[in-house]
């Protein structure tokens, strides 16, 4: 008799999620679904607000990646004003975005994911967390904390506070970097680079020891989406969009991000507040067999960004990218490589910050372009740590929001997360027994994507995972909760 396993809540992710695993009559996994069960409604309650307020409102979606929303929202506002912001303002926004990438990736790797591969998938769950890591590997834990501090301090130096800084606005930014702030950043950079390189070295050992996980943690063909610059280099703030397939072939290139609706469709799931974006020309993959090159499933985030770019554009990161591609056999398809990609992006971010630090524009007071409503629609796109982020606003003549559409990175990875859960579950679950270590591996598959569920459902909360095993008759045969 077919059964369903449900994992509710999922632990060590941001937000509240549930996983349902469906078994067939033979007790083997037939399918899996990743549900996000929280709702907040930013796209609705922002209607009627002045678009000027949106960079202040939308970062409240999340306390981990508010900067991403701040920047995408400000860019949508730039569109509505129809301005090119001053060069200094763009450079400062880029600096903040890189800092955001560093701190968010540090949180994901050191606090959320590394306990699994450093302490063991089957280790005591009460210790398999950041505090267990700190007891077992204090030096590594200390490095991770300081790495996150580095990113947060830059955000604070620019925006006045680490969380929800009120800084980027339509037309530019409010403040530049101070000389003192620049000097502080400069003193931290050597340690940041050392930490990134040491952790990369450590992770490569981990990768060697976890080849079996790398093969089954979300290892399937899909498209990948990310921003690139005019030379095809790794890009995080502007540029154009590129889709590549699992073989690294460019499927669509130099796409204008503001015309995203032409190539990204959004499907609604009946049992989740998380939408499922897909690549429109190839269609929505509504059949289990459509995990192939011809379906529209795509991934975003660090793995995708490294797959779509020609190079990172900085020397140390480019060396690492080369090795990354060798280990991933070209275009990396295993979601386990998200962890690896995050570390390379931390390194690239630190190199870029170091290269820009002497630019006098960072201290400039020419920071704003002033205008009124010149377009009734604006789209702002940037790379959040978790992937490409779209803010799309329609306004009236007075600049009041009439419609909002937010496409969040985690939402774009929704279909891929479903496939990942199914793949891991197929490997480990046979029958109604749910070993704890298996549960953790299913969760770890989700964690590889570093989902931000508060953002992607524009939802609130921070709760663990619920797993439910359900039969074909809908009866719950087994359940596990994690607080």
């Amino acid at each position: 008799m077919p059964k369903k396993i449900v994992i509710d809540p999922v632990t060590r992710i941001e937000g509240h999620a549930k996983i349902s695993i469906y078994l067939d009559d033979g007790g083997e996994v037939a399918d899996a679904r990743f549900h996000v069960t929280e709702f907040r409604g930013f796209e609705k309650f922002c209607e009627g607000r002045p678009f000027w307020e949106m960079p202040g409102i939308t970062p409240r979606v999340c306390g981990i990646c508010p900067v991403s929303h701040l920047l995408a929202s400000a860019k949508a506002g730039d569109n509505i004003l129809a301005v090119n912001i001053p060069p200094a303002a763009e450079k400062l926004r880029r600096l903040m975005n890189l800092a955001q990438i560093v701190q968010s990736h540090a949180l994901s790797f050191f606090h959320l994911s590394s306990p699994d591969f450093l302490l063991g998938w089957d280790s005591d769950p009460t210790k398999r967390n950041v505090f267990g890591l700190m007891a077992a590997e204090p030096e590594l834990a200390r490095s991770g904390i300081r790495l996150r501090q580095f990113g947060q301090e830059i955000i604070k130096l620019l925006g006045g506070q680490k969380i929800h800084p009120s800084w980027a606005v339509p037309g530019g930014v409010r403040e530049s970097l101070s000389q003192e702030g620049r000097d502080q950043i400069r003193t931290w950079l050597p340690e940041v680079r050392t930490t990134a390189l040491n952790t990369l070295s450590r992770f490569k050992q981990i990768l060697d020891d976890h080849q079996s996980e790398a093969k089954i943690f979300g290892n399937f063909p899909s498209l990948f989406l990310g921003l690139i610059d005019s030379k095809g280099l790794w890009e995080h703030y502007n540029g154009s969009l590129r889709f590549v397939d699992s073989g690294g072939n460019i499927i669509a290139d130099r796409l204008d991000p503001t015309r995203y609706q032409e190539f990204i469709g959004e499907a609604v799931q009946p049992d989740s507040y998380l939408k499922s974006p897909y690549y429109r020309p190839l269609g929505y993959p509504d059949q289990p067999s459509q995990c192939r090159l011809e379906s529209g499933i795509y991934r975003v985030g660090p793995l995708a960004r490294l797959n779509v770019c020609e190079r990172m554009g900085t020397p140390l990161a480019d060396q690492e990218l080369q090795e990354f591609r060798e280990r991933g056999s070209g275009t990396a398809n295993s979601s386990f490589f998200y962890h690896y990609a995050r570390l390379i992006e931390i390194l690239a971010s630190s190199e870029r910050i170091e290269g820009w630090l002497d630019d006098p524009d960072l201290l400039s007071n020419r920071l704003r372009a002033h205008a009124d409503v010149n377009q009734l629609e604006g789209v702002g796109v940037s790379e959040a740590p978790r992937g490409t982020l779209f803010h799309h606003y329609q306004v009236d003549e007075n600049g009041l929001i009439e419609k909002v559409n937010l496409i969040i990175a985690t939402g774009q990875n929704n279909l891929a997360m479903n496939r990942t859960v199914a793949q891991i579950a197929r490997h480990y679950i046979h029958g109604t027994e749910i070993p704890e270590g298996m549960l953790n591996r299913v969760e770890a598959g989700i964690r590889a994507f570093d989902p931000c569920l508060s953002c992607s459902t524009h939802a609130a909360g921070q709760m663990p995972l619920h797993i439910q095993l359900v039969g074909a008759d809908g009866k719950v045969l087994n359940e596990v909760w994690r607080d």
């Binding site: 009460t126 700190m134 904390i145």
Partner: protein, 146 residues
């Protein structure tokens, strides 16, 4: 410079009484005492461990649901009774972390301000408002002892 007293006030200032911790920390910051540093944060995060390691005493300040209308002051011991981050982050866990990573055991106090209203809002209830004043006096007393 070795900081003497670190005050960490935490909570959500948009949730009425839950903002009491940050309000206290803000007021302490205004004193501008040379040996006291005050941090206002939304929640306890691992990054605070380094700050704690640099202090001779740390005072955590938070709102707390309680039947009593009286301020509670606990002397904290090093015990990871609630290992967590975020909204449920526990001072003891942070102290454990500080000891694990920096090898430092910092004497700590936890001031719990009685709170009754956690609805959306920025005003304190009369009970909490009174307890905030008591918390400030307690911090002055604790700071003068170090």
């Amino acid at each position: 410079m070795f900081l003497k007293v670190l005050v960490i006030g935490y909570g959500n200032t948009l949730r009425s009484d839950d903002g009491a911790g940050q309000i206290v920390a803000n007021e302490v910051a205004k004193w501008r005492w040379a040996n006291v540093r005050s941090l206002c944060v939304h929640q306890l995060t691992p990054e605070l461990a380094e700050e704690i390691a640099c202090a001779s005493t740390v005072i955590f300040v938070d709102a707390s649901i309680s039947d009593s209308e009286t301020l509670q002051v606990e002397r904290l011991t090093l015990q990871p009774t609630a290992i967590s981050l975020g909204h449920l982050g526990e001072p003891r866990s942070l102290l454990f972390l500080t000891q694990a990573i920096y090898g430092k055991i910092t004497p700590a106090y936890w001031i719990l301000i009685p709170a009754v209203n956690f609805e959306f809002g920025e005003k304190l209830s009369p009970i909490t408002e009174g307890a905030v004043m008591a918390a400030l006096e307690e911090i002055k007393r604790l700071s003068s002892r170090t």
